[in-house]
């Protein structure tokens, strides 16, 4: 095989891996949109907040240290203990559940039956709030997150692929980041877990009922409020996983919240209401934007990744206005 062909395969492979990470974020959106019709812009900030909390707990940082120091003139920054990764993850999940309860109690309860755009705006407000709150709680410096996921290029895979190139070609094997591989594995198991959960448990069935029809679900005795807390907790958990992966990749900092913007075209492409759509959409977008950058960057200049996904999704939408897997939009007068 020629080296160019192999490079292209390498680009596609890495694109698919990145796409899995996009799908992880998109998944959180889809869950909330299905269950409550809310387009939750705060999903990215939730991932940031979860990652910040995880790092903070793991390293034993004092919450609001900066504020405490400013008010009382003290100099606290760390507790004496550090937590093992698994304990920190469990505590962070508890924090995200608490967050879900608070969101339901303080915001969603009061905004029942509002127009979708009002709810959307409320989640942007929530995103602003969480951004300030997270920074205030844990400080705005860039933190490194290490939960024991292996990182760096896979030597085995490089050795494995080096022989594929034809004799005499300059090819040194394909580069695949171990972290991306792990992310893909975790994402797949997460989707399997969610599928099993929604198919075979009582709460999962209730969740699907609410997604189908709010009124009908209410009339058979399903509490919408409990479902909302549940679904926000689950997407808090998904946000934690996404935040963990992205945080391990590029550090925990403000820019982490911008992954929400990466997930939006994925959602558009896959359809707002479809979990498989989020996965397939993520893969298409991930591979597509990496390929486009690979082939077009020398011609029209780099950094096309910011907009290419949107344009690609837009083109798809012109042919399928509800996304690839979205529910068919039926309009009645």
């Amino acid at each position: 095989m020629s080296a160019d062909f192999l490079y292209t395969i390498e680009v596609i492979l890495n694109g698919l891996m990145a796409g899995v990470l996009y799908s992880l974020v998109a998944l959180g959106f889809v869950l909330i949109f299905k269950a409550s019709g809310i387009f939750n812009y705060a999903q990215g900030v939730m991932a940031l907040f979860a990652a910040l909390t995880l790092v903070g707990l793991q390293e034993g940082r004092v919450p609001f240290a900066h504020l405490i120091n400013a008010v009382f003139g003290t100099k606290v920054h760390h507790f004496d203990w550090t937590l093992p990764a698994i304990a920190a993850i469990i505590f962070t999940i508890l924090v995200m559940v608490l967050f879900a309860v608070l969101v339901e109690k303080l915001i969603l309860k009061h905004l029942v039956n509002q127009e979708p755009i009002i709810l959307f705006m409320a989640t942007i407000g929530l995103a602003y709030f969480m951004e300030g709150f997270g920074d205030l709680m844990w400080g705005s410096d860039v933190k490194t997150l290490n939960v024991g996921i292996p990182q760096g290029g896979s030597l085995w895979f490089e050795d494995f692929t080096i022989g594929w190139a034809a004799e005499g070609e300059k090819f040194y094997g394909m580069y695949v980041d171990l972290l991306d591989v792990w992310a893909a594995i975790i994402a797949i198991s997460l989707v399997l877990f969610l599928t099993v959960f929604s198919q075979y448990t009582k709460s999962g069935r209730a969740l699907r009922a609410v997604a189908d029809d709010h009124q009908a679900a209410l009339s058979v005795g399903i509490s919408l409020r409990v479902i909302w807390v549940l679904v926000w907790s689950i997407s808090g958990f998904v946000a934690l996983v996404a935040g963990m992966m992205w945080g391990a990749k590029s550090g925990v900092q403000f820019s982490l919240s911008l992954i929400a913007l990466k997930a939006l075209p994925v959602l558009m492409l896959g359809g707002f209401t479809s979990i498989p759509g989020a996965i397939v959409g993520g893969l298409i977008i991930g591979a597509g934007e990496k390929l486009f950058e690979f082939f077009m960057a020398p011609i029209i200049g780099g950094a096309t990744e910011n907009w290419f996904a949107y344009v690609l999704a837009l083109l798809f939408l012109v042919f399928r206005p509800q996304g690839l897997f979205g529910e068919k939009i039926i309009e009645r007068v």
Binding site: L111, M121, L126, E131, L136, I300, G301
Partner: protein
Amino acid sequence: MLYREVGEFKTSYAQDSQTFPIRFDRYRYYFVIIVGLLFIPFVINDYWANAVFLPFLIYAIAALGLNILTGYCGQVSLGTGGFMAVGAYASYKLMTAFPDLNIFFVIILSGFVTALVGTLFGLPSLRIKGFYLAVATLAAQFFLIWLFNKVGWFYNYSATGMITSPSRSVGSFFITGSESTPAAKYLFCFLFVFLLAWVARNLTRGKIGRSWMAIRDMDIAAEIIGVNPLIAKLSAFAISSFYVGVAGALFFSVYLGAVEPTEAFSIQKSFIVLFMVIIGGLGSIFGSFAGAAFMVLMPVALKNLLVLQFGWSVDIAAHFEFIIIGGLIIFFLIVEPHGLAQLWNLLKQKLRIWPFPY
């Protein structure tokens, strides 16, 4: 007591269809115009112009534009920042290519350029609806900003990639550049706000405004009663982009003087303008002004309060600013989802029967 409509008899069609049918409203409007024209220009200084009045006036234009699209025609757009950038770059190219052209016409022409671009990006709205469209407009936002960063022609191949507005004047008053005075800038923006608000008000209550509202309320039904969705949606996109483009041109040339697209016209701008429209009130001219005032004044007030009064360090104050802005937005949406305009209407209702509510 003061606010009454009894005893006001309309004796001509002109009186019946005027914008402010109640005398008190009309006087209040004249009062605001007179204060804006004859009082503020004489007392304005650099701080007040740059921190409060110029951003308020310019954002009010952008909010009017977005309100036409989102509030009246029901098409949610998140590309406002990108379209503002189009206006800014159009005005820059026009100013540098035609140095003799009056700045007033430069701004108007940049509005038309933006209208053209806006119509182009509005085309998908014929097929895509709701949130899908909102996300689709993000394509405009990211693509346009990328374009202005990458293609040298737009910033005349300057080394920094920034655009800087040259000095331009109306008569002997400098509007842009270093010699400009706050009063001249303020009056220039005021003129645009006045004209555009007047146009918006009359567009929205005319035939075209009604067709927008029909599309917003239910597009299929509107189509059946004879509203052409192609014309209604694209005209809303065009006119809204015109407003946003004018705002962007003023933002660059008059207010900031020098901009760099990724900073000045980021997606945050789109959100801020959308907040103005929602907090002010969807589908209300007054709401656009109220929302712009709220979103411009609140950060200034918070900064003054927290940093100067309480003496907090700047970074803690910045975090609190985020928390408070986010909290207030949620609070407002919960208390009054129809925005400040609705609160204003309620207040007027109360005033009508005050002091004898029963």
